[in-house]
């Protein structure tokens, strides 16, 4: 077993409800070292809730979440040192300049003093923000803000990068740069967990995909494995597999109340 087969992230039997609505129902998930894992699901499937729990922003009702063996419930601070997080709609302190914002992030992330300048400069150049470094974030375009937020998620070289719909609002060139940067991260032995509802993104970018529906992981694996699970041919696309698997999951969910109704009927007759 190579080093890359070990899971960097383990999520076991995760449950979370809000105001009586069960958002996540016993979800299991595993991201291996050096892979990009895509969390694919329709709106309201529970992707963002799952990512927020993994990022330490939401408290789970039940379950286990570990990164590199460190449990979020037991050692939350050591755990968070290993992650970088990019929310779906990142809100940034718009009163800071781009450079000041990255300075704030490196300071709060305990980056050694002698590395601070190099890291800030590197990411500003990498995402073409060099010329705007002294500008207030409020004056940057949406795409620039997204790139700045991604820089903040990457700047401390996390073991696991958690991205919630990272390509929304970014122009094609920007998307291309981000994809290249993510592939580079993988080469460095780090991992990415990305949530998306864009099937083509998942198909092109991810090594493995987990299909999440109604708070459950319906199926996960490489494209070939998903084809086997969905019992579809080699020429089937991820979109077709996704539709079939989520439809099947829907049917399973709908069956349950029917069974309950029937059993209830028998009980009454007794």
């Amino acid at each position: 077993m190579s080093d890359y087969d070990f899971p960097i992230l383990e999520v076991l039997n995760l449950w979370k409800s809000y105001n009586g609505h069960q958002a996540v129902r016993g979800l299991d998930l595993e991201v291996k070292k050096g892979e990009i894992f895509g969390l694919l699901g329709p709106n309201g499937a529970g992707k963002t809730t799952t990512l927020k729990i993994i990022a330490g922003l939401l408290k789970m009702d039940k379950g286990i979440v570990k990164i590199d063996g460190i449990d979020i419930s037991e050692e939350p601070y050591d755990y968070k040192k290993l992650i970088g997080y990019l929310p779906e709609n990142p809100t940034l302190p718009e009163y800071l300049t781009a450079e000041e914002f990255l300075g704030y992030v490196v300071k709060i992330r305990d980056i050694p003093l002698n590395e601070i300048k190099d890291r800030i400069n590197y990411y500003l150049e990498l995402f073409d923000l060099e010329k705007r470094r002294k500008d207030l974030i409020v004056s940057l375009s949406r795409g620039m803000k997204q790139k700045l937020a991604l820089s903040a998620a990457l700047i401390h070289k996390p073991s696991l990068l958690i991205l919630d719909e990272p390509l929304i609002g970014i122009d094609p060139t920007g998307q291309h740069h981000i994809k290249i940067r993510l592939k580079e991260m993988i080469k460095e032995g780090r991992s990415v967990l990305v949530s998306t509802h864009m099937i083509d993104t998942a198909e092109r970018l991810c090594d493995r995909v987990g299909i999440i529906h109604n708070g459950r992981n319906v199926a996960s694996g490489t494209l070939e494995k998903l084809r086997r699970i969905a019992e579809m041919g080699e020429d089937s696309t991820l979109e077709q597999m996704f539709l079939k698997l989520t439809q099947e999951a829907e049917e399973v969910v709908e069956e349950k109340p029917m069974r309950r109704r029937l059993f209830g009927l028998f009980r009454k007759r007794k």
């Binding site: 990022a55 330490g56 922003l57 939350p76 601070y77 968070k80 040192k81 992650i83 997080y85 929310p87 990142p90 809100t91 940034l92 302190p93 718009e94 009163y95 800071l96 300049t97 000041e100 300075g103 704030y104 992030v105 490196v106 300071k107 709060i108 992330r109 305990d110 003093l113 601070i116 300048k117 800030i120 002294k134 207030l136 409020v138 004056s139 903040a152 401390h156």
Partner: protein, 518 residues
């Protein structure tokens, strides 16, 4: 007329609509209305018992100053067009067959209504005064009418200059508006002898109104010369308004109202903050945040202060200080010279300012900065440092100006300054700590209508500040009777009490912050 009423009703429903979202919102709205208006009423009841009442000249000056400042502040809206518009109005009314003048008139009526519901303590003041003195009802009505004429004059001037600024957005227009504001505000310096001319000596509309009112109060007759001069101003303003409102202002008006009364909506707040940062931020980028310098705590303190400066919330606090400063100066300019009054002015200013500023800054933090908490929350164990540094930043903002003022006045106040300094420190410390605790423990809705959370964030820090600082405030009043040695001993004892209380509060913050919700 039909269209004017339609637009007016829409604007009123839009502005006060959030109060209809729930019974609690409606109740809180009524409470806000009553508490805002009761200030004027109580002032009217109590005024005849104050030393002001025996100084009609000073009272005329104060009332004229109040009315002139009201006009000057209204003109700040002229710099943004003088018309209040919601985005929906731009989309629906501006694309309809309504004429600009009809729209502007409906807006004038809308501003008149809002002003009387929320920002006008004068009518309740007249009612209070009528109750207290048993003034003839007709006289009271005429006084109220004179005041209403001044309000209409203010709105006409504000809208006309705003429209001029829209159709001719040149420097000279802004200089004209700025010049009028300066002319209206400068005589207020006469209260501290920094300006040679008093309001009562100037031919300002506010002076004519103030003189007419006091003449009515004293002699129950209307002095026609004052009304005549006021009428000239009204005719001039109306003529200017008539011509300027002919222009097609719809090309230039931009939405100015993002939030209804008591409404909380992150998107709108974000737009407001963006505007504030766009206006003020570039002026302050010389204050750079350098990660290479200082510890994490000092870095975070500077970051919090930069936020307060760049989004303008500290500026609001400074304006508040100026208002309390003016009240303090007017109070101390009274002829009566008891020692109680010598301390009551600064005490009033200190307690209100130092207790209120952390609440104001905590509200702005909740609106603009809570959503940015994902950065420290996903970064490891520095969320505690984040809030401790926020506490220090609040303390600095609440203390800087009062301490500055106390230190400047040190040669005149002697040892009593020690108690002023300590009282300010205690009030600001308790208020800052309670403001942060409230932010952590009560998650105020970022979306929706007026919420009890805002009442908590205003009142809990103030109650905490007064309760915690009570021993210091007591000493501020009674210490002058004690010997210097005893005063120093008591000061040391109370400093130990403050330090112990603060350590306890900071520990509580440290414990509770781990469960904070974004």
């Amino acid at each position: 007329m039909g269209k004017i009423i339609t637009v007016l009703v829409f604007k009123i429903k839009q502005y006060f609509g959030s109060l209809r979202s729930s019974k609690a919102s409606f109740f809180l709205g009524i409470l806000a209305f009553l508490s805002l208006n009761s200030i004027g009423f109580l002032f009217g009841i109590g005024l005849p018992d104050t030393p002001f009442w025996t100084e009609p000249g000073l009272l005329t000056d104060i009332l004229s100053a109040f009315l002139s400042i009201f006009l000057a502040l209204s003109l700040t809206l002229s710099l943004r067009g003088g018309v209040t518009a919601f985005q929906a109005e731009l989309d629906f009314f501006f694309t309809s067959a309504i004429r600009p003048r009809q729209y502007v008139l409906s807006d004038l009526l809308f501003q008149f209504v809002v002003l009387h519901v929320l920002f006008s303590p004068f009518i309740p003041f007249i009612i209070g005064l009528t109750f207290r003195l048993g003034i003839n009802l007709m006289i009271a009505l005429i006084i109220a009418l004179v005041y209403e004429i001044y309000v209409v004059l203010t709105l006409l001037t504000m809208q006309s200059l705003g429209a001029l600024n829209l159709v001719a957005p040149y420097k000279r227009t802004k200089i004209l508006i700025g010049g009028i504001m300066m002319a209206l505000l400068l005589p207020s310096l006469s209260f501290v002898k920094f300006f040679p001319v008093k309001y009562s000596d100037l031919p300002y509309p506010s002076t004519f109104v103030a003189k007419a009112m006091f003449h009515l109060l004293e002699q129950s007759t209307l002095e026609l010369s004052n009304i005549y001069f006021l009428g000239i101003f009204v005719v001039l303003a109306f003529t200017f308004h008539y011509f300027i409102s002919k222009k097609n202002l719809f090309y230039y008006i931009r939405p100015t109202i993002m939030l209804s009364f008591g409404e909380s909506r992150p998107q709108a707040q974000a737009i407001q903050q963006r505007r504030a940062v766009e206006t003020l931020g570039p002026l302050t980028t010389f204050l750079a945040l350098d990660p290479m310098k200082g510890s994490l705590t000092s870095f975070l303190i500077k970051k919090h202060l930069i936020r307060m400066i760049r989004d303008g919330s500290l500026f609001s606090a400074i304006i508040l200080f100026a208002i309390y400063g003016a009240v303090s100066v007017i109070t101390s300019s009274l002829p009566s010279d008891t020692s109680a009054r010598a301390t009551s002015g600064p005490l009033f200013m200190l307690t209100f300012y130092s207790a209120l500023v952390p609440s104001i800054l905590a509200i702005s933090w909740n609106s603009y900065e809570r959503e940015n908490l994902w950065i420290p929350l996903t970064s490891g164990g520095h969320i505690v440092e984040y809030f401790k540094s926020f506490f220090v930043a609040l303390l600095m903002a609440a203390l800087l100006l009062p301490w500055g003022l106390i230190i400047i006045s040190l040669p005149f106040t002697g040892l009593s300054s020690l108690w002023l300094i300590l009282s300010a420190l205690a009030i600001a410390s308790f208020s800052s700590a309670f403001a942060i605790l409230t932010l952590i423990l009560i998650k105020m809705p970022r979306e929706g209508s007026i919420s009890a959370g805002y009442f908590f964030i205003i009142f809990l820090p103030m109650i905490g500040a007064y309760a915690g600082a009570l021993p210091f405030l007591t000493m501020l009043i009674f210490a002058p009777d004690y010997t210097i040695q005893l005063q120093l001993l008591l000061a040391m004892f109370l400093i130990s009490y403050l330090a112990t209380a603060l350590i306890g509060l900071l520990k509580l913050i440290e414990r509770k912050v781990k469960s904070i919700k974004i």
